[in-house]
């Protein structure tokens, strides 16, 4: 199953012109600045924008083309809006059952109990929406969308309306959805951090157009995109927990490029984790340094250097087959004589897990 969408519309200053194919599994993050058309794209997929012409096929079924338009209530999606939008006249339980009751019995794969336990809202079932906090309301909204057993889950910045604490409250639930449910998710966000945490694939949008699409790790480290340039440029690496050092409370994380050492020893061995490395925390050495406090040093090859006119530039290194971004001063790049193909050492000051 995969999702192919092609939409085109021009409304005054706003335009949307997308042609994309995304995998039918995992989380695809639609990332871009506010007003770039992410939400409109998601609404068009749900059938909420009947004015937008285009074609849409999901898992081989045509939802929309030049001749047909499947009405929104006939599209097997789960939609979570930016604001929780719970029905005020129903209790939490009735809200969750609202959609599920309207799904044919044979198509119900996710029980109310499962949706409730995935989002941890069992204690709220008897309450009314106005008695819940913003974070709780959004968890109920997610459970309500899951309970219709959607073929495709659409999340429109579900965390954007929440403050930092509430975001932290919901994030673990979204991560567990990701691990426990096989359904494809389209996750609209303008937060880099959310994309890094939750996305497997991503679609990078700007001004109604798709700039790039592919695995998150790949897109984040593409030096031709603006993502790799600002002070928040980073590399995302998938790794498995390979072991611990109980004496120093350290964890070893194994990835194709080698073994990372990070502080803390809570993660169970064998778990898959994401390592986030800020480009600002990567420095480049010409020879292997001894007598340093830094644990993570890898041999690397300079792949590309971004053309830059300012003081700082981004260098894309390859550690084996794994890209790694380093943000250094242009002066250093010149002094070290960096050029594509040069063998160097990458020294990572801080590596955190997501």
């Amino acid at each position: 199953m995969s999702i192919a969408a092609r939409f085109k519309i021009c409304r005054g200053t706003f335009s949307l012109d997308v042609d994309m194919e995304i995998p039918g599994r995992g989380v695809t993050a639609v990332f871009g600045p506010s007003g770039c058309g992410k939400t409109t794209l998601l609404r068009a997929i749900a059938g909420l924008e009947p004015g937008i012409r285009g074609t849409l096929t999901v898992g081989g079924k045509t939802w929309q083309d030049s001749k047909s338009f499947l009405l929104p209530h006939k599209r097997p999606v789960g939609y979570v809006f930016q604001e929780p939008s719970l029905f005020g006249h129903l209790t939490v339980k009735q809200n969750i059952e609202y959609g599920r009751r309207r799904v044919p019995r044979t198509e119900r794969r996710i029980s109310v109990d499962r949706a409730v336990s995935l989002l941890g809202i069992g204690h709220l079932l008897g309450r009314r929406p106005h008695q819940l906090s913003g974070g709780e309301q959004q968890r109920v909204a997610i459970a309500r969308a899951l309970a219709v057993s959607p073929a495709l889950l659409l999340l429109d910045e579900p965390l954007a309306a929440l403050d930092m604490d509430k975001k932290k409250e919901i994030m673990p639930y979204l991560e567990s959805l990701h691990r426990q449910l096989a359904m494809p998710v389209l996750y609209v966000s303008h937060s880099r951090d959310e994309v890094a945490r939750l996305g497997d694939h991503m679609v990078l949008m700007d001004a109604g157009k798709i700039l790039a699409a592919g695995p998150v790790r790949e897109i984040f480290s593409r030096i031709d995109l603006a993502l790799a340039h600002g002070p928040d440029a980073e590399t995302i690496i998938e790794a498995t927990v390979g072991g611990h050092d109980p004496e120093f409370a350290l964890t070893y994380l194994d990835c194709p490029a080698g073994r990372f050492t990070v502080a803390g020893n809570k993660m169970p061995t064998g778990n898959t984790v994401r390592i986030q490395i800020a480009a600002n925390d990567v420095s480049i050495l010409l020879s292997r340094q001894s007598g340093t406090s830094i644990l993570n040093i890898f041999p690397a090859r300079v792949d590309r250097i971004a053309p830059a006119t300012k003081a700082l530039t981004t260098v894309r290194l390859m550690v084996g087959e794994m890209p790694l971004l380093a943000r250094i001063t242009r002066k250093s790049a010149v002094d070290l004589g960096l050029e594509p193909g040069k063998q160097v050492y990458a020294q990572i000051k801080a590596a955190g897990t997501l």
Binding site: H73, V77, F87, G88, Y98, G99, R102
Partner: protein, 227 residues
Amino acid sequence: MILEQQDITALLMTLKLASLTTVILLLLGTPMAWWLARSHWRYKFLLEAVVALPLVLPPTVLGFYLLIALGPHGFIGGMMKFMGGSPLAFTFAGLVVGSVVYSMPFVVQPLRGAFAAIGRRPLEVAATLRAPPLDRFFSVVVPLAWPGFLTAAVLGFAHTLGEFGVVLMIGGNIPGRTQVLSIAIYDHVEALEYARAHYLSGGLLILSFLLLMLVYALNRRFMVVQP
């Protein structure tokens, strides 16, 4: 017995007229208010003005045109005759038609306000939760707009109770057939039967006050419950 037989008949006639008018108006006014709240048609203002017309028009003017339309030579009356019925002027059915037109804005405006206040979002949510359009209306709009329906019903009912000009023009003043309370009061005053006029007027005053109190009390309660 305080009320005489003729007054009781007028009272019952009035209640029957107001109830029937309210039911018809809720059935007609709901789709109309929905359309007014939702439509982006550029000439919508024309229909808005027509619906609001009874608010400003002297009831006698409205009654006069209705009398002509409902009479044997009028558009509606002629059609009734053509279909084998009788003209509606000076009948109870004619009163109902007149009241429906006369009280229309009092039902359509509160409903329209209530529908507009709900906004688009709850309907979109319901659509993504598999609810077809009519289902969305009854499972989401009606419960959320329910204070609006109550206000509309009470205002429509109360306004019809007090109708005078339109009724006089198209219903005449036939005791037992088209004589309603407000006209009975007028007759009593004309005949200097002030005591009987007092009973009916006082009754109408109290009933209207109680109905309006109910509307405002319920609206306040709902404003508190719904954030």
